[in-house]
C-alpha cells in the first residue's frame, strides 16, 4: 500500500461522492464499492484492482483479450425473424431489440469469431450481456449453430463464453427450442473429435445454463460468476430461507463438482492455449495405432483352427503408451 492508494484515493473518493462521478473516468466496483480509475480497470482486464471482482465485459473485449495480438475475424450470422411472436409487454419487443442494437452496435446477443490462439485456429462464440441480458432467442441459437459448423469445418476447437440470464422470454417457445438446438450444435463439434470448452461468466443461468453451457468437454468459470439454473429470487421465494454463502458462485460450483477450474481472467488465454495443446497435440506416445485385427478377435481364433494363418502374417504389436 503506497501513499497514493492509502491517502490520495480515499480523499478523491470523498470529493467525488459529493458530485456526479464522470462515468468515463471513474468506475465504482460493484463488489467493494471502491472507485477505480478507468485506465487501471482497462489495464487489469476489467478486474477490480482492490478486491479482484470480475466485472462484466463486452463480448468484443473478450475476443480482444483471447486471440493472438487481439486479431480475429467476426463472421456474419444468418438473419432470423426479428420478432417472431410479435411480442409486446410494456414496450414492443421490436423496439427493445432496436434499442439494444443501437446501444451495443450488435445485431443480437452473441458474436462468433475465428482466429489464432497460441498459433492454433480457434472458433469463439461470446455473449454480450448488455444486449437484453445476453438472452437466447433465435439469433443466439443461430450463432451457436454457425459457430459449431465453423469449428467442424476448420477442424478447430470451439470456445463458448456465455453471459446470459437464460432464454429470451419475448420469443416464447422459439427461445425454449434453442436449448435442444444449441445442444446439437456443440455436440457436432464434440463428435468431430474437437474440444468444446465453455467459459462460464457472470451470469450463466436459466435455459442457457441448462443446455450447451453445461455440456463442455471442459468447463472453466470466472471467479465469482453466478452460475445456476433457477434465479436466486425464485429460490428464495420457494424455500423462504436465507441462501447459503456464495450460493451459485463459480467457487460453489467448483466445490460441488460442476466445473473443472475457476480461472481468473488474466490467466484465461494461457489456460485455453494449454488445454488445446494438451488435447490436440498428443505427442508421439499418444498417437493412436490400430492393433492387428486378430489380436482383438480372440474367441474367433480359438473357434476356427487355422484362422491365424488365414489372417496373414502378424504385424508387430506397437508398444502401448
Amino acid at each position: 500500500m503506497n501513499w497514493l492508494t492509502s491517502f490520495v484515493r480515499p480523499k478523491i473518493q470523498t470529493l467525488l461522492r459529493k458530485r456526479e462521478v464522470p462515468e468515463n473516468l471513474w468506475h465504482k466496483c460493484p463488489a467493494c464499492e471502491q472507485m477505480i480509475f478507468h485506465r487501471d480497470l482497462e489495464k487489469n482486464l476489467c478486474v477490480c484492482p482492490h478486491c479482484g471482482h470480475h466485472l462484466r465485459i463486452a463480448a468484443a473485449r473478450r475476443l480482444d483479450m483471447l486471440f493472438d495480438d487481439g486479431a480475429y475475424q467476426k463472421i456474419e450470422l444468418p438473419k432470423t425473424a426479428p420478432d417472431p411472436l410479435r411480442f409486446r409487454d410494456l414496450k414492443r419487443y421490436s423496439e427493445r431489440l432496436k434499442e439494444a442494437q443501437a446501444r451495443t452496435g450488435l445485431q443480437d446477443a452473441a458474436i462468433v469469431a475465428h482466429g489464432r490462439m497460441g498459433g492454433r485456429q480457434v472458433v469463439v462464440a461470446a455473449f454480450e450481456f448488455e444486449f437484453l441480458g445476453g438472452s437466447m432467442g433465435l439469433a443466439v441459437g443461430e450463432a451457436l449453430v454457425a459457430a459449431g459448423r465453423l469449428a467442424v469445418l476448420q477442424g478447430a476447437p470451439l470456445v463458448v463464453i456465455p453471459s446470459s440470464g437464460g432464454a429470451r422470454m419475448q420469443e416464447g417457445i422459439l427461445s425454449l427450442v434453442q436449448m435442444p438446438r444449441t445442444t446439437i450444435a456443440v455436440n457436432q463439434v464434440k463428435e468431430a473429435g474437437l474440444p468444446y470448452v465453455v467459459v462460464l461468466t457472470d451470469p450463466t443461468t436459466g435455459g442457457v445454463s441448462a443446455s450447451f453451457a453445461m455440456l463442455g468437454d471442459i468447463a472453466l468459470a470466472e471467479p465469482g460468476a453466478v452460475i445456476g439454473f433457477a434465479g436466486q429470487r425464485v429460490i428464495q421465494e420457494t424455500i423462504r430461507e436465507k441462501l447459503p454463502e456464495g450460493f451459485q458462485r463459480a467457487e460453489y460450483l467448483y466445490e460441488h463438482g460442476m466445473v473443472d477450474m475457476v480461472v481468473p481472467r488474466g490467466k484465461l488465454r494461457e489456460t485455453l492455449i494449454r488445454i488445446f495443446s494438451l488435447l490436440c497435440d498428443r505427442g508421439p506416445a499418444g498417437e493412436v495405432v490400430a492393433l492387428p485385427r486378430h489380436d482383438l478377435d480372440i474367441p474367433a481364433r480359438e473357434a476356427v483352427p487355422g484362422a491365424e494363418a488365414a489372417a496373414g502374417p502378424a504385424s508387430p504389436t506397437p508398444p502401448l503408451p
Binding site: D89, M169, L176, R181, S209, A210
Partner: protein
C-alpha cells in the same frame, strides 16, 4: 367435490340447479325430467361456447386443473404391466419424474413423465411435478435403457418447471437438464412426447425433445410461466393474463409456430370432464405417431430428430 374454475361459474350454477332438480324429482313427475333435460342441453351449449373461445390465460388454468388426468392415470389406462424403475444411481429417487417399462398397444416401451400427484399427500410426494436433478438423471438412464433394448420412448410432460431449490442447484440442476436434453437427441429409438398439462420451461423440454411432440388441445407449453413473465416484463404478477396472451403458449399457437407436431382434441369441456376419453385420444395419437417411426432405422431417426431441431432457427409468425 368437483372443482370449478372461475370462468366456469355459470356452468357450475347450471349444473348445481340440475342436481337440485334431480333430488326433487324423486316423485317421478314428468315436468321435472323435462326441465332437467332442457337444462342439460343448456349446460352443454354453455360449455361448448365457453370452451370454444378460451383465452390463453383460461387455458393455462385448464392445463393446471387439479382434476385433469395426470401421468399415473395415463399409464393405468394405456400401459399394460407397467413396471416402474427407480433411482438415478447417483444420489436418490425423485418421484416428480416417474418412469419404467411396460407394454403400449402390444409393444414394449419405456414410459416416463412428470407426475404432479392427485391429492395433497400425492402432490407433496411428487413435489407437484417439479423435478430435482435426480429426476432428470433417472429419465436419462431410462432413455439409455430404451436404446439398449431398442424400445421406443413415450414421455408425458406435465410440470410447472424444474424445482427451484438450494439442494437442486447444489447437485447440478442445470447440468442434469442439459444432459437429459442431450440424451433425448442422441437415442437411436423412436421417441414420442405428449404434453398433457403444463409444459413448464427447461424442466419440460428436458424430456420433450422428441421425434414427434404432441399436445393436448388445452395444454400449455412455454419458456416461462405467465406469472413469472409478468413479474419480470410487466413488473407485476397481476399481468399474467397479458403475459399468457403474449407468450403464445397454446397448442394451436405452437402448432402454427412449428414448435410441436400435432394437437390432440380434448373432450367437450376439457380433459378433466372426461378423463378417460382424453386419455384414449392421447393413446390413439401416440400410436399413430409411433406407427410411422417403428420401421425407421435408429440412426436415421436420430439424424432426422436432430435435423428437425436444427431447422428451428427459421420459425416465427409469417407476414
Amino acid at each position: 367435490m368437483r372443482h370449478f374454475l372461475d370462468f366456469e361459474k355459470p356452468i357450475a350454477e347450471l349444473e348445481g340447479k340440475i342436481e337440485e332438480l334431480r333430488h326433487l324429482g324423486d316423485d317421478g313427475r314428468l315436468s321435472i325430467a323435462e326441465e332437467v333435460g332442457k337444462l342439460q342441453e343448456k349446460v352443454t351449449r354453455l360449455i361448448r361456447q365457453t370452451y370454444s373461445r378460451l383465452t390463453p390465460w383460461q387455458r393455462t388454468q385448464v392445463a393446471r386443473h387439479p382434476d385433469r388426468p395426470h401421468f399415473s392415470h395415463y399409464v393405468a389406462r394405456l400401459v399394460e404391466g407397467f413396471t416402474p424403475l427407480a433411482g438415478d444411481r447417483a444420489f436418490g429417487e425423485d418421484r416428480a419424474v416417474v418412469g419404467g417399462i411396460g407394454r403400449f398397444r402390444g409393444h414394449s416401451a419405456v414410459i416416463l413423465g412428470h407426475e404432479k400427484g392427485a391429492d395433497t399427500e400425492g402432490r407433496l410426494r411428487h413435489n407437484f411435478g417439479m423435478a430435482r436433478p435426480e429426476g432428470y438423471r433417472k429419465a436419462r438412464r431410462l432413455m439409455r435403457l430404451a436404446e439398449r433394448f431398442r424400445l421406443p420412448v413415450i414421455s408425458f410432460v406435465d410440470t410447472p418447471g424444474a424445482y427451484p431449490g438450494v439442494d437442486a442447484e447444489a447437485r447440478g440442476q442445470a447440468e442434469a437438464i442439459a444432459r437429459s436434453i442431450e440424451t433425448c437427441l442422441e437415442i437411436r429409438v423412436p421417441f414420442v412426447a405428449a404434453i398433457i398439462g403444463e409444459g413448464g420451461s427447461g424442466g419440460a423440454v428436458a424430456i420433450a425433445a422428441a421425434d414427434r411432440v404432441l399436445m393436448l388441445e388445452h395444454a400449455i407449453y412455454s419458456v416461462i410461466s405467465p406469472e413469472g413473465c409478468a413479474s419480470i416484463l410487466w413488473r407485476s404478477g397481476d399481468k399474467a393474463e397479458e403475459a399468457a396472451e403474449a407468450l403464445k403458449l397454446t397448442a394451436a399457437d405452437l402448432e402454427r409456430l412449428g414448435a410441436i407436431d400435432g394437437v390432440v382434441k380434448e373432450p367437450l369441456g376439457g380433459a378433466h370432464r372426461e378423463p378417460e376419453a382424453a386419455i384414449d385420444a392421447v393413446g390413439e395419437a401416440l400410436e399413430a405417431a409411433l406407427a410411422g417411426l417403428r420401421a425407421v432405422d435408429g440412426g436415421v431417426l436420430r439424424a432426422q430428430r436432430r435435423d428437425k431441431y436444427l431447422r428451428m432457427g427459421s420459425l416465427g409468425l409469417s407476414g
